[in-house]
Amino acid sequence: MSVDIFLSLLTAAFALMVVFSKKTVVAAFALLMTLLTIAIIYFQVGTVFLSAVQVLVNAGAIAILFVFVMMLINLEQFPNNREKNKMKLIITSFTVLVIMGVLALVINNNIEMLSVENLTDNSMKALFDKLFTAYYLPFELATMLLLAAIVACIVITSHEKHEKHEKEELLETEKNR
Protein backbone atom coordinates (compact mmCIF):
# COMPACT_ATOMS: atom_id res chain seq x y z
CA MET A 1 0.00 0.00 0.00
CA SER A 2 2.83 2.43 0.84
CA VAL A 3 4.30 1.88 -2.63
CA ASP A 4 1.03 3.10 -4.16
CA ILE A 5 1.07 6.24 -2.02
CA PHE A 6 4.73 6.96 -2.82
CA LEU A 7 4.21 6.51 -6.57
CA SER A 8 1.12 8.68 -6.69
CA LEU A 9 2.81 11.44 -4.67
CA LEU A 10 5.77 11.31 -7.07
CA THR A 11 3.48 11.57 -10.12
CA ALA A 12 1.51 14.40 -8.52
CA ALA A 13 4.74 16.27 -7.76
CA PHE A 14 5.98 15.99 -11.36
CA ALA A 15 2.53 16.95 -12.68
CA LEU A 16 2.58 20.06 -10.50
CA MET A 17 6.00 20.85 -11.91
CA VAL A 18 4.60 20.62 -15.42
CA VAL A 19 1.84 23.13 -14.69
CA PHE A 20 3.58 25.60 -12.40
CA SER A 21 7.09 25.80 -13.86
CA LYS A 22 8.19 29.07 -15.43
CA LYS A 23 10.32 27.70 -18.27
CA THR A 24 8.61 25.48 -20.85
CA VAL A 25 11.65 23.18 -21.27
CA VAL A 26 11.51 22.46 -17.54
CA ALA A 27 7.82 21.65 -18.03
CA ALA A 28 8.70 19.29 -20.90
CA PHE A 29 11.20 17.34 -18.80
CA ALA A 30 8.71 17.27 -15.92
CA LEU A 31 6.13 15.79 -18.30
CA LEU A 32 8.68 13.15 -19.29
CA MET A 33 9.13 12.21 -15.63
CA THR A 34 5.34 12.10 -15.13
CA LEU A 35 4.95 9.72 -18.07
CA LEU A 36 7.75 7.51 -16.70
CA THR A 37 6.18 7.34 -13.22
CA ILE A 38 2.80 6.55 -14.82
CA ALA A 39 4.58 3.70 -16.65
CA ILE A 40 5.83 2.41 -13.29
CA ILE A 41 2.26 2.65 -11.93
CA TYR A 42 1.03 0.60 -14.90
CA PHE A 43 3.62 -2.03 -14.00
CA GLN A 44 2.59 -1.89 -10.35
CA VAL A 45 -1.08 -2.31 -11.25
CA GLY A 46 -0.17 -5.37 -13.32
CA THR A 47 -0.58 -4.34 -16.95
CA VAL A 48 3.00 -5.10 -18.00
CA PHE A 49 2.65 -4.66 -21.77
CA LEU A 50 1.05 -1.23 -21.42
CA SER A 51 3.86 0.00 -19.18
CA ALA A 52 6.45 -1.06 -21.77
CA VAL A 53 4.46 0.60 -24.58
CA GLN A 54 4.02 3.71 -22.41
CA VAL A 55 7.78 3.97 -21.88
CA LEU A 56 8.54 3.37 -25.55
CA VAL A 57 5.81 5.48 -27.18
CA ASN A 58 4.88 8.19 -24.73
CA ALA A 59 8.13 8.76 -22.86
CA GLY A 60 10.40 7.74 -25.69
CA ALA A 61 8.84 9.53 -28.67
CA ILE A 62 6.24 12.13 -27.70
CA ALA A 63 8.38 13.78 -24.99
CA ILE A 64 11.33 13.91 -27.41
CA LEU A 65 9.07 15.73 -29.85
CA PHE A 66 8.18 18.32 -27.22
CA VAL A 67 11.82 18.96 -26.34
CA PHE A 68 12.73 19.22 -30.04
CA VAL A 69 10.01 21.81 -30.60
CA MET A 70 11.12 23.70 -27.50
CA MET A 71 14.61 23.86 -28.97
CA LEU A 72 13.23 24.92 -32.34
CA ILE A 73 10.91 27.63 -31.03
CA ASN A 74 13.04 29.61 -28.61
CA LEU A 75 10.60 31.07 -26.11
CA GLU A 76 13.07 32.76 -23.80
CA GLN A 77 13.56 35.67 -26.18
CA PHE A 78 9.97 36.91 -25.68
CA PRO A 79 9.65 39.20 -22.65
CA ASN A 80 6.97 37.40 -20.74
CA ASN A 81 5.42 40.46 -19.19
CA ARG A 82 1.95 39.65 -20.38
CA GLU A 83 -0.40 41.03 -17.76
CA LYS A 84 -2.20 38.26 -15.91
CA ASN A 85 -5.81 39.36 -15.51
CA LYS A 86 -6.49 38.23 -12.03
CA MET A 87 -10.23 37.70 -12.51
CA LYS A 88 -9.82 35.03 -15.17
CA LEU A 89 -7.34 33.11 -13.04
CA ILE A 90 -9.57 33.12 -9.97
CA ILE A 91 -12.64 31.97 -11.86
CA THR A 92 -10.88 29.17 -13.70
CA SER A 93 -9.08 27.89 -10.63
CA PHE A 94 -12.35 27.98 -8.69
CA THR A 95 -14.21 25.95 -11.33
CA VAL A 96 -11.36 23.42 -11.58
CA LEU A 97 -11.40 23.04 -7.81
CA VAL A 98 -15.15 22.44 -7.92
CA ILE A 99 -14.64 19.76 -10.60
CA MET A 100 -11.91 18.16 -8.51
CA GLY A 101 -14.18 18.17 -5.46
CA VAL A 102 -17.02 16.53 -7.39
CA LEU A 103 -14.70 13.85 -8.77
CA ALA A 104 -13.23 13.16 -5.34
CA LEU A 105 -16.74 12.89 -3.91
CA VAL A 106 -17.84 10.45 -6.61
CA ILE A 107 -14.78 8.27 -6.07
CA ASN A 108 -15.23 8.45 -2.32
CA ASN A 109 -18.81 7.25 -2.42
CA ASN A 110 -18.21 3.99 -4.26
CA ILE A 111 -14.59 3.31 -3.40
CA GLU A 112 -15.46 -0.19 -2.15
CA MET A 113 -17.01 -1.19 -5.46
CA LEU A 114 -14.09 0.28 -7.37
CA SER A 115 -11.19 -1.20 -5.47
CA VAL A 116 -12.29 -4.82 -5.68
CA GLU A 117 -10.12 -6.92 -8.00
CA ASN A 118 -11.85 -9.38 -10.24
CA LEU A 119 -9.77 -9.32 -13.37
CA THR A 120 -9.14 -13.04 -13.73
CA ASP A 121 -6.87 -13.55 -16.69
CA ASN A 122 -4.55 -10.56 -16.87
CA SER A 123 -1.97 -12.22 -19.06
CA MET A 124 -0.75 -10.57 -22.24
CA LYS A 125 -2.03 -13.48 -24.29
CA ALA A 126 -5.64 -12.74 -23.39
CA LEU A 127 -5.09 -9.08 -24.23
CA PHE A 128 -3.58 -9.75 -27.66
CA ASP A 129 -6.10 -12.41 -28.66
CA LYS A 130 -8.88 -9.90 -28.07
CA LEU A 131 -6.93 -7.16 -29.83
CA PHE A 132 -6.61 -9.02 -33.12
CA THR A 133 -9.87 -10.93 -33.23
CA ALA A 134 -12.59 -8.76 -31.66
CA TYR A 135 -10.88 -5.36 -32.21
CA TYR A 136 -9.53 -6.05 -35.67
CA LEU A 137 -11.25 -3.13 -37.40
CA PRO A 138 -10.21 -0.36 -34.95
CA PHE A 139 -6.61 -1.55 -35.25
CA GLU A 140 -6.69 -1.12 -39.04
CA LEU A 141 -8.46 2.24 -38.77
CA ALA A 142 -5.79 3.37 -36.32
CA THR A 143 -3.15 2.80 -39.00
CA MET A 144 -5.26 4.86 -41.40
CA LEU A 145 -5.33 7.61 -38.77
CA LEU A 146 -1.53 7.44 -38.55
CA LEU A 147 -1.30 7.69 -42.32
CA ALA A 148 -3.49 10.79 -42.25
CA ALA A 149 -1.30 12.27 -39.48
CA ILE A 150 1.87 11.64 -41.52
CA VAL A 151 0.46 13.32 -44.60
CA ALA A 152 -0.92 16.22 -42.56
CA CYS A 153 2.32 16.90 -40.70
CA ILE A 154 4.44 16.91 -43.82
CA VAL A 155 2.09 19.20 -45.69
CA ILE A 156 1.77 21.60 -42.75
CA THR A 157 5.47 21.91 -42.01
CA SER A 158 6.78 22.12 -45.57
CA HIS A 159 6.09 25.59 -46.81
CA GLU A 160 8.36 25.67 -49.87
CA LYS A 161 5.53 24.54 -52.08
CA HIS A 162 3.29 27.47 -51.18
CA GLU A 163 5.99 30.00 -51.96
CA LYS A 164 6.51 28.33 -55.34
CA HIS A 165 2.80 28.75 -56.11
CA GLU A 166 2.85 32.41 -55.17
CA LYS A 167 5.86 33.02 -57.41
CA GLU A 168 4.16 31.26 -60.34
CA GLU A 169 1.00 33.32 -59.86
CA LEU A 170 3.07 36.52 -59.83
CA LEU A 171 4.77 35.52 -63.08
CA GLU A 172 1.44 34.78 -64.74
CA THR A 173 -0.03 38.13 -63.68
CA GLU A 174 2.93 39.96 -65.25
CA LYS A 175 2.73 37.88 -68.40
CA ASN A 176 -0.89 38.54 -69.17
CA ARG A 177 -0.87 42.20 -68.08
Binding site: A12, L31, L65, V69, K88, E117, L127, A149
Partner: protein, 97 residues
Protein backbone atom coordinates in the same frame (compact mmCIF):
# COMPACT_ATOMS: atom_id res chain seq x y z
CA UNK B 1 -4.90 0.50 -5.41
CA UNK B 2 -7.70 2.89 -4.53
CA UNK B 3 -5.40 5.90 -4.27
CA UNK B 4 -4.78 5.74 -8.02
CA UNK B 5 -8.40 6.83 -8.63
CA UNK B 6 -7.69 10.05 -6.77
CA UNK B 7 -4.41 10.39 -8.64
CA UNK B 8 -6.07 10.09 -12.06
CA UNK B 9 -8.73 12.63 -11.05
CA UNK B 10 -5.97 14.94 -9.78
CA UNK B 11 -3.95 14.59 -13.01
CA UNK B 12 -7.03 15.35 -15.11
CA UNK B 13 -7.94 18.46 -13.14
CA UNK B 14 -4.33 19.63 -13.02
CA UNK B 15 -4.13 19.36 -16.81
CA UNK B 16 -7.35 21.33 -17.10
CA UNK B 17 -5.98 23.99 -14.75
CA UNK B 18 -2.72 24.09 -16.70
CA UNK B 19 -4.49 24.71 -19.99
CA UNK B 20 -6.29 27.73 -18.57
CA UNK B 21 -3.21 29.12 -16.82
CA UNK B 22 -0.60 28.72 -19.49
CA UNK B 23 0.27 31.53 -21.85
CA UNK B 24 1.79 29.75 -24.84
CA UNK B 25 0.45 26.97 -26.99
CA UNK B 26 3.15 24.38 -26.36
CA UNK B 27 2.58 24.35 -22.61
CA UNK B 28 -1.12 23.93 -23.26
CA UNK B 29 -0.32 20.87 -25.34
CA UNK B 30 1.85 19.58 -22.49
CA UNK B 31 -1.04 19.90 -20.05
CA UNK B 32 -3.34 18.21 -22.56
CA UNK B 33 -0.92 15.30 -22.59
CA UNK B 34 -1.16 15.28 -18.79
CA UNK B 35 -4.95 14.97 -18.95
CA UNK B 36 -4.64 12.08 -21.41
CA UNK B 37 -2.31 10.31 -18.98
CA UNK B 38 -4.83 10.68 -16.18
CA UNK B 39 -7.68 9.26 -18.26
CA UNK B 40 -5.55 6.34 -19.49
CA UNK B 41 -4.77 5.44 -15.88
CA UNK B 42 -8.49 5.47 -15.12
CA UNK B 43 -9.17 3.06 -18.00
CA UNK B 44 -6.70 0.59 -16.57
CA UNK B 45 -8.09 0.84 -13.06
CA UNK B 46 -11.60 0.19 -14.31
CA UNK B 47 -10.38 -2.78 -16.34
CA UNK B 48 -8.89 -4.20 -13.13
CA UNK B 49 -11.99 -3.43 -11.08
CA UNK B 50 -14.59 -4.75 -13.50
CA UNK B 51 -12.57 -7.57 -15.04
CA UNK B 52 -13.38 -6.22 -18.53
CA UNK B 53 -10.02 -6.52 -20.32
CA UNK B 54 -11.12 -4.49 -23.35
CA UNK B 55 -10.53 -1.31 -21.34
CA UNK B 56 -6.80 -1.97 -21.56
CA UNK B 57 -7.13 -2.14 -25.34
CA UNK B 58 -8.75 1.26 -25.17
CA UNK B 59 -5.53 2.58 -23.63
CA UNK B 60 -3.56 1.23 -26.59
CA UNK B 61 -5.81 3.05 -29.04
CA UNK B 62 -5.63 6.16 -26.84
CA UNK B 63 -1.85 6.12 -27.22
CA UNK B 64 -2.14 5.95 -31.00
CA UNK B 65 -4.57 8.84 -31.05
CA UNK B 66 -2.54 10.94 -28.59
CA UNK B 67 0.56 10.39 -30.74
CA UNK B 68 -1.28 11.63 -33.85
CA UNK B 69 -2.77 14.55 -31.91
CA UNK B 70 0.62 15.69 -30.57
CA UNK B 71 2.18 15.30 -34.01
CA UNK B 72 -0.40 17.45 -35.77
CA UNK B 73 -0.68 19.92 -32.88
CA UNK B 74 3.03 20.62 -32.91
CA UNK B 75 3.07 20.92 -36.70
CA UNK B 76 0.36 23.54 -36.47
CA UNK B 77 2.34 25.36 -33.78
CA UNK B 78 5.40 25.33 -36.03
CA UNK B 79 3.40 26.70 -38.96
CA UNK B 80 1.85 29.35 -36.71
CA UNK B 81 5.26 30.31 -35.32
CA UNK B 82 6.60 30.64 -38.84
CA UNK B 83 3.82 33.05 -39.83
CA UNK B 84 3.36 35.07 -36.67
CA UNK B 85 6.78 34.66 -34.96
CA UNK B 86 4.98 34.18 -31.65
CA UNK B 87 2.90 31.53 -29.97
CA UNK B 88 1.65 33.54 -27.04
CA UNK B 89 -2.08 33.28 -27.10
CA UNK B 90 -2.49 36.98 -26.35
CA UNK B 91 -0.83 37.94 -29.64
CA UNK B 92 -2.81 35.54 -31.83
CA UNK B 93 -6.23 37.12 -31.64
CA UNK B 94 -6.78 38.48 -35.13
CA UNK B 95 -8.26 35.97 -37.58
CA UNK B 96 -7.24 37.89 -40.70
CA UNK B 97 -3.71 38.24 -42.11
Amino acid sequence: MSIYYYLSAFLFCLGLLGITFKKDLISMLLCLELMLGGVALLFILFSKATGFIDAQLMVIFMMIISACEVAIGLSLIIALYRKKQTIYTNDIKILTE
